[in-house]
Symmetry: C2
């Protein structure tokens, strides 16, 4: 059930060293220190949680976007309109993790007095994992929600072309002795990164999650990557894939369309330097303490308790999991033992460090044998 794929080869690097190195790389791209620290914080948090596809793996692309001026390295998000409850921001094509952190914190501060508040941005950039922002609210005892639209990779139900992003939804809530409830999910059946990993490992993907370039379902990752598309959560029409399609649209409506950003196929794919993605991003904070229903975290514990003790289906690989639980375990492990980067990921960072004159930190031990 892990939403991440553990590397099958790689080296281990201390999380603090990786964060410092990442911040230094971003700083050398002429980014102010506080902004660089936000970028490093979020990317390394993604690595720590085992979501390698959204962590420092993206840094070489981020750097090329900054160099090309597609990311404006000194831009700071500005409140542009809206109300005290619902504020509309111009993220000014600055660093995504910085704008996201600022907008979420602003929503959290306002929700603490208003009960609920939201920030919405246009001209936003890729911000790594949506869950990080929602978790920021949960760490303060609030419920956090985050949505963003993203590069078009998903075909609408009945369609064959890439029209919608994997448009994630994240919700985090404090859960007492269970730590945090963290749902952080793409509204596609799988992420693009999963298909990339399958291609690299020369394995097939499961049926019902993607189309080839001919618009027919395929299990060959190369067919998807070349000219195919992901399917929405639920897969085909007969297995209710129109619900995943609807959810992807819900996110687009609440982000790109509402914020006056790009939406649908107009979103400029993240990895190109054609121009800013101009994403829409929404951050909501709700304070359970604002309503007279004391004991929110106790009820979260009761719900989680019921789940982890639930009767299992035959062949279940383990007990029922709480959303975010595998990532929290991975984070705890990697905080202590270091972050495992796969070989290509590590190589790309070493190379980036050489180009920028910031030597990549020493790894813990030699690279392990490539087990492919």
């Amino acid at each position: 059930m892990a939403p991440f794929e553990l590397p099958i080869d790689g080296v281990t690097v201390d999380q603090e060293s990786l964060r410092e190195w990442t911040a230094e790389i971003v700083r050398r791209l002429s980014t102010p220190l506080d902004i660089a620290n936000d970028v490093a914080e979020v990317l390394v948090a993604s690595d720590l949680r085992g979501v390698a596809s959204h962590g420092t793996f993206r840094l070489p692309v981020y750097a090329s976007l900054a160099e090309a001026g597609v990311i404006d390295v000194i831009a700071r998000p500005q409140k542009q309109s809206g109300t005290q409850v619902f504020s509309h921001w111009d993220a000014a094509n600055g660093w995504g993790p910085h704008a996201g952190r600022v907008l979420m914190d602003d929503a959290i501060d306002r929700a603490s007095t208003l009960g609920m508040a939201a920030s919405i941005a246009h001209r936003a950039s890729h911000f790594s994992i949506a869950g990080w922002y929602a978790m920021r609210a949960a760490a303060r005892g609030l419920i956090g929600m985050t949505m963003t639209n993203s590069s078009p990779l998903v075909a609408p139900t009945r369609g064959r072309s890439r029209l919608l992003g994997t448009n994630p939804i994240a919700l985090a809530a404090p859960a007492g002795r269970f730590g945090m409830f963290v749902l952080d999910m793409a509204t596609s059946a799988v992420t693009w990164g999963r298909v990339v990993v399958a291609a690299r490992r020369e394995t097939e993907i499961v049926p019902g999650i993607a189309l080839g370039g001919d618009g027919r379902p395929t299990t060959v990752p190369g067919h998807v990557l070349e000219s195919g598309a992901l399917l929405p959560l639920g897969g085909g029409e007969e297995t209710a894939g129109y619900k995943g399609y609807g959810l992807a649209l819900m996110v687009d409506v609440l982000t790109g369309v509402l914020a006056g950003a790009n939406f649908g196929s107009r979103v400029v794919p993240f990895s190109t330097t054609l121009g800013p993605s101009d994403l829409g991003q929404l951050f909501i904070a709700i304070d359970p303490g604002s309503i007279d229903a004391a004991g929110f975290e106790g009820r979260m514990e009761d719900l989680c308790e019921e789940l982890v003790t639930a009767p299992l289906a035959p062949g279940a690989p383990g007990r029922v999991l709480i959303p975010g639980e595998p990532e929290a375990e991975r984070e705890a492990y990697q905080r202590e033992h270091g972050i495992l980067l796969d070989i290509r990921h590590h190589e790309s960072l070493v190379e980036l460090g050489e180009r920028r004159g910031v030597r990549f930190p020493a790894v813990r031990g030699a690279p392990v044998e490539d087990r492919r």
Copy 2:
């Protein structure tokens, strides 16, 4: 892609007559007139949209709950705590469609000045289709969102027992010349009603949407109804069913847990007279006019235009649909030609009318031949 199943046999009744008859039945249960009108309005709206499982089909059960005192027929929802932005209500086990209408309208009114506002209820009752409330906001030019938890029918990923409701999410937004965007979806792969319909028609259900009483996937509807469970959207773990599971939990956290209502398996199944369900329900309204991104509806039109003209996959049964489009078509048709009720649905209403001394309205023409 229709989320509803058209009756395969039945009679046709004028929508206005059905609404008046329904209101009269509810009124005879000692319900104040305005409350009875809300109940009739929402149930018949569900029928009009082709969602027969949530319309007047439920009236006999509603009536028995009212008779048993499980629904408090004279209760009106009261604001209990919260803030101007986020208000917490006691729905007092009154009629669900009335409380829902009041809470949504209150959120709409507040959002019109605040930019965004929400109402959350505990001690709420079944309220028919979630989309109706969201559409009320869209009819005023706002974005509406509604969520409710519901009777436990869904197994968590890896589990086998009924722990979670089909916990729907609805979002409606005005879409200019495309009318309204209305996503209204259970977070299970299919609704319970679909399985009931399959059993009645003696057909199989598609694989990957439900478990039998042994906890194994089944395509036999009877096995599901007897002691099985629905699977979350996405199906099994390998096809990302944990995302549907996460969404069902998200709804439970934002409704039952947050509101201090029942949640998880504690929700009293709707059709029993054991006691009130004590549902949690959330209603959110967002005013796109509150932010400086003029032209929200124009952007909705652009998004919809891109969808309906999208290149199709081979074998697609028609063009790409916009969420809510099949229901809107059905509603337009049935407003003119009458509402088609299947034979058993019609019989149950005739019987209810006889018991309550309110004769069911004349149907248009004789029942058509049963085509099963």
